[in-house]
Subunit: 282 residues, 2 copies
């Protein structure tokens, strides 16, 4: 596995492969790799000639009061995992290489950003779309892989790629879960033992809501109420940011039955914010 730290050199390396007609599969990460990341890398390996990953904890997608400084960093461990998964190139840039002091360009995806998580993490998606625009230009991937756990992120990125005519396919892969159903996330590492035991309530609640949607016995408003009740009843959950049924294209909360429904929730276990979602087609 080649390790490259300089954007310009990374761009040249990827271009060489593209000029030889090779396809590039790209998995951008913020490190602290778990099986969710590994499933993305595995899929990229199967579908492309060259697999490129990046490891960069992107400062501009964290709010001032958020966990940028303490976000888990396990670079050596991550490197080994990537090496063992047959990754061809790891891009590991320094912060000032990605954002020099005079950096001042930002990509805004207006319509689909201003919902759900954005209400609680303003500026978050602007940071995500900007760094993904940069990475797509540096790597020029044939396909880039993202996990469904961050559903809104995948929609924002797809929208950006379409609107700005990036020549990459965005591939969204299923959420990988722990045995007890908790969606894998680097932030799970923050949970203490009791919070970790309680955390599967999030996935359980989504499943109960999904069953209710499929059975058709409850209205969207009733299901919303049920979700809130189930989550609020868990004593380690200190805050429910949102928990409801949404249109998966627009993120409008839905009040009538639709063909495709996104069941999504974000909750806080103290300082730790967890999100999860299920996409239901009826």
């Amino acid at each position: 596995m080649e390790l490259i730290r300089i954007p310009r050199i990374m761009q040249e390396s990827c271009k060489k492969y593209l000029l030889k007609g090779r396809t590039i599969g790209f998995v951008p990460t913020m490190g602290a790799l778990h099986d969710g990341h590994m499933s993305l890398i595995g899929r990229a390996r199967v579908e492309n000639d060259i697999v490129v990953t990046s490891l960069f904890v992107n400062p501009i997608q964290f709010g001032p009061s958020e966990d940028f400084e303490k976000y888990p960093r396990e670079i050596e461990n991550d490197r080994k995992k990537m090496q063992n998964s047959d990754v061809d190139i790891l891009f590991l840039p320094a912060g000032d290489q990605m954002y020099p002091r005079d950096f001042s360009t930002f990509v805004h995806v207006d319509a689909v950003s201003k919902r759900l998580c954005d209400s609680f993490r303003p500026e978050h998606f602007k940071g995500v779309s900007t760094v993904v625009a940069k990475l797509l230009n540096i790597v020029s991937p044939t396909r880039a892989y993202f996990g469904q756990k961050d559903f809104q992120q995948t929609i924002v990125i797809k929208r950006m790629v379409k609107d700005l005519n990036f020549d990459s396919e965005i591939v969204v892969c299923p959420t990988v879960r722990e045995q007890d159903g908790l969606a894998m996330s680097s932030r799970n590492l923050y949970l203490d033992e009791e919070q970790r035991k309680a955390a599967p309530v999030l996935y359980r609640t989504l499943n109960i809501a999904a069953d209710a949607v499929k059975s058709g016995t409850k209205s969207p408003a009733e299901i919303r109420e049920l979700m809130r009740a189930l989550l609020s009843a868990e004593k380690f959950i200190t805050e429910v940011d949102y928990a409801s049924l949404y249109d998966p294209e627009t993120f409008d909360e839905i009040d009538e039955k639709k063909r495709d429904i996104l069941i999504a929730a974000a909750v806080r276990f103290g300082d730790v914010r967890l999100i999860d979602n299920l996409l239901v087609t009826i």
Copy 2:
């Protein structure tokens, strides 16, 4: 000359040339071609294997009260000029191909946009950087050519290309002028006979300012005053948007002598807004 209207097909065509190792020189235009455009095309022809132009009057860079509807459109004439200049591909997209109804992604270049022209044409540079981001992704040019007449535009685009890691070189070419010094611009077509006769006062004023800068006998404040006086004395000029000395990197108005000085002005002849600039190194 090939004519392509669909972004996806344009992207595929350009990619084929790039895969063969050809360089692409790109000249984006809004049509109504004059000798300034032709000089960009000529330079692109000399420096690249393939020359690509675009002709698209970009709606999102015009303000609501501006001249989008009446902006000069001479498509047949422009086509012939491009054909005669040995252009390989003309990209001529329809508006809804570039901006479908659900379009919602915009590129903002914060630092260098919020000065000079932006005060008078708010949102203008957001429209420029967004369309140029799209065009760079569609064409993937080795080099893209812009005229120095739109100096602030060239700085905004260079900043965006650097910040978002686009793999294209931005080439800025000297302003081409009429015999009497008026900078070539598609908007010159709007001037009536008397306004047209008076218009060279803009370039004359810039030159007087440049001489004053070089001779070192006047302070920046005095030169500013002189420029305003010369422009305001012209009866067909109905408004001076700005006229001063600037730092060419930041567009801060300068009060002390610097090595590089941008002398720039924007004036209105009735509804017609003209800009011009000189870059002076002392």
